[in-house]
């Protein structure tokens, strides 16, 4: 009789646990990137890891043939960590409104790895277990990571990137410069970068007195990064100039395709806070 009772309780527990896992998976679907094809290996495949994080390796995707390609990383200082099981800490400025989106990718073209997370609103750091990074052997220079919020800039909702630092325990990166990593979609013969600051001034008089007037103030005009050739799908690290004023900035990217000279431009918005 006692054995039967234990068996029944065990079955009940299994059913309850299955239901709980299924419901958690349903909640987490919004965090995962649905465009990622499923990989074969069940342990390391891109999937829900906890309530706010999806991580793993996905199946090969057709590479986009467009010119500038993907902006894969934006960090304050370079990521610094060792390949050991100690978790990494991602930190961004406190007081950001709305949910913060985190994305990490492998910069090596043969590693199809991605991590997506949406930490609870109001937090300014995220503890990231490093087991998959260690398993895949992704070194700091092979990792692209960025954080953004969706904010209305120049009358339209846009991705505003946050200064993000990646550290592990006592290993803290130098945090003076913003680092941007671009992965070109096609071979490029030229890659240029320009910078503007979004400045806000109060309208003293005129049509709408008291309203804020938002305009772009050029910080740095287009300047070449110096190379004469950039291979497709090969990460290009760009160190941004040290910024004096805090605020929201627009980074302008301009690229010229190597094969036919076709030009492409892209805007990348980020926030800079005073150290």
């Amino acid at each position: 009789m006692k054995n039967r009772l234990i068996e029944f309780s065990r079955h009940l527990c299994i059913i309850a646990c299955s239901l709980a896992v299924a419901s958690t998976a349903g909640l987490a679907q919004g965090v995962c990137d649905p465009s990622k094809p499923t990989a074969n290996n069940p342990w390391e495949r891109y999937q829900q890891r906890d309530s706010s994080r999806c991580e793993g390796v996905y199946g090969q995707q057709p590479v986009s043939g467009d010119i500038i390609g993907e902006i894969a990383s934006f960090t304050l200082g370079k990521p610094l960590y060792q390949l050991d099981p100690k978790p990494l800490t991602l930190e961004w400025p406190a007081g950001v409104e709305g949910p913060v989106h985190l994305r990490a990718v492998a910069l090596e073209e043969d590693i199809f790895y991605q991590m997506d997370a949406v930490p609870p609103v109001g937090t300014s750091s995220f503890d990231w277990p490093s087991d998959l990074l260690v398993h895949r052997g992704i070194e700091p220079h092979e990792l692209g990571v960025r954080a953004w919020v969706i904010e209305s800039l120049l009358e339209h909702p846009r991705d505003l990137h946050l200064p993000l630092s990646v550290r592990q325990g006592a290993l803290v990166p130098e945090a003076q410069r913003h680092w941007l990593v671009v992965v070109p979609g096609a071979p490029l013969r030229k890659l240029e970068v320009g910078l503007d600051r979004l400045s806000t001034t109060d309208k003293a008089a005129g049509e709408h007195p008291g309203e804020a007037d938002v305009q772009l103030e050029e910080v740095k005009s287009y300047g070449s990064l110096g190379q004469s050739y950039y291979a497709a799908r090969r990460a290009v690290q760009i160190a941004l100039p040290v910024l004096a004023k805090p605020g929201n900035y627009r980074l302008r990217l301009r690229a010229e395709r190597d094969s036919d000279g076709e030009l492409d431009t892209e805007s990348f918005w980020f926030m800079h806070v005073a150290p």
């Binding site: 649905p34 465009s35 467009d66 010119i67 009358e155 772009l216 301009r254 076709e262 492409d264 431009t265």
Partner: protein
């Protein structure tokens, strides 16, 4: 009735009477009736000989015909059912030439928050018309309340590019073949999300714009222009955007045969959850006036060994992907357009995938794969169901036939062995 079980013997069966008599005498001998045993032994021997003689001379038991009849009837019933019943869903490959094509972008995962889908690659052109525009951005800076909603941009021979176009899941896309001037038009509509198209200009390109304010801004040097269509707040309407561009050196002839996929501006392998091959007569408010946009082609039924079904010109084809529910037959501009309200609802994973769209002078060639639960041609009164029959499906499953064949053979063998074994005992 199980054939191996012995039938109950009737009392008048002489054989059974003899067997009972033999059993009685044997039982008595076993029970120790010593006095009777000598006489019984002789008697048992005599009775046994008599039984053997009887068994040899007994006429064979009449065979019962009804199990065979029942078996034949059951087999006929099963085969008829397999012949009449059709597969509930089937995988098809479509290779069609069309006069126009309408589809709705779906999601591989079926989630509402799916990432945008790439619709068009980068297109080089020297002339673009964008209709139904709500706002414009030039190098990220918005132009305040444009006066017009239709814009035409062109250059003096120098090319500029339409940036790769990503559209949100749930966007209706309608593709028309090039007009007489060689312009290709696509119309986009979405019930909830904004739509945008971006243009990229090389420095120094002189841009001629239909709008004087826009032309003035372009003269100051613009590298990127974004035209957006918003969903009107006051009406239950969709965000709509129509894009027309001139195709430099449009190849003559049909797109159906061996057009290079690279020449097509459309991205390959797009997930779609609606695919419509019907059109309406312009200005008509009656759905009964719909006509087919099919110019010809073939459907391959993958579940039955890729059986080919030819579709002739103007044949109404329904692949069970999408309905006319979202059809808006008469818009303000007089053109028909699609925009289903259910596009925003959470939908299952897209059941179809467009593999290739090629646009020729007079036809749009479509290659697509889909899993459909409806596949028919003709009108409601003369509809022909093209879903494969279950029997046909079974016929194209050699492994299934081999399995059942082997099972029946083995059963027959085992039954024979069993009969032989019982007989020897």
């Amino acid at each position: 009735m199980w054939p191996l079980r012995k039938a109950p013997a009737t009392a008048s069966d002489p054989g059974e009477v003899l067997r009972t008599a033999i059993r009685e005498r044997v039982d008595r001998a076993v029970a120790g009736d010593v006095e009777a045993s000598g006489a019984s032994a002789d008697e048992v021997q005599r009775l046994t000989q008599l039984l053997a003689a009887y068994e040899q001379t007994r006429p064979p038991r009449p065979r019962r015909a009804w199990p065979v009849v029942a078996l034949v009837l059951a087999t006929a019933l099963v085969i008829s059912a397999l012949l009449l019943l059709r597969m509930p869903t089937t995988e098809v490959t479509l290779a069609l030439d069309l006069s126009s094509l309408t589809f709705r972008i779906g999601s591989d995962s079926g989630q509402g928050s799916a990432a945008p889908v790439e619709l068009l690659g980068r297109i080089r052109t020297d002339q673009v018309t964008v209709d139904d525009v709500a706002t414009i951005e030039l190098d990220d800076l918005p132009i305040r309340q444009p006066q017009a909603s239709h814009f035409k941009l062109s250059t003096n021979g120098e090319d500029f590019s339409i940036r790769p176009l990503d559209v949100p899941v749930g966007t209706w896309v309608r593709v028309s073949p090039p007009d007489e001037a060689g312009g290709l038009t696509i119309a986009l509509a979405h019930p909830t999300e904004a739509l945008a198209v971006g243009l990229s200009f090389a420095p120094g390109v002189e841009v001629l714009a239909s709008d004087p304010e826009l032309m003035e801004r372009f003269a100051q040097g613009v590298q990127q222009a974004v035209f957006r269509a918003e969903r009107p707040a006051e009406a239950d309407e969709c965000a709509r955007l129509r894009l027309r561009w001139s195709v430099p050196g449009t190849a003559s002839g049909s797109a159906s045969a061996a057009d290079g996929a690279n020449a097509s501006p459309f991205k390959s392998t797009m997930p779609v959850d609606a695919l419509l091959f019907i059109d309406l007569t312009g200005g008509s408010q009656h759905l009964s006036t719909r006509f087919s946009s099919v110019l010809g082609g073939r459907i391959y039924l993958e579940a039955v060994g890729g059986r080919e079904v030819a579709i002739r010109r103007d044949q109404l084809l329904d692949v069970g992907l999408g309905t006319l529910a979202g059809y808006d037959p008469v818009r303000a501009s007089g053109d028909p357009g699609f925009c289903a309200d259910d596009a925003a609802a959470e939908t299952p994973a897209a059941p179809a995938r467009i593999m290739r769209i090629a646009v020729g002078d007079d036809a749009i060639a479509l290659q697509a794969t889909a899993t459909v639960d409806r596949l028919s041609t003709g009108t409601a009164t003369h509809r022909q169901n093209l879903l494969p029959r279950r029997l046909e499906w079974l016929q194209t499953r050699p492994e299934l036939l081999a399995f059942w064949g082997a099972s029946v053979s083995l059963f027959g063998l085992a039954y024979t062995v069993l009969l032989w074994w019982r007989g020897t005992r």
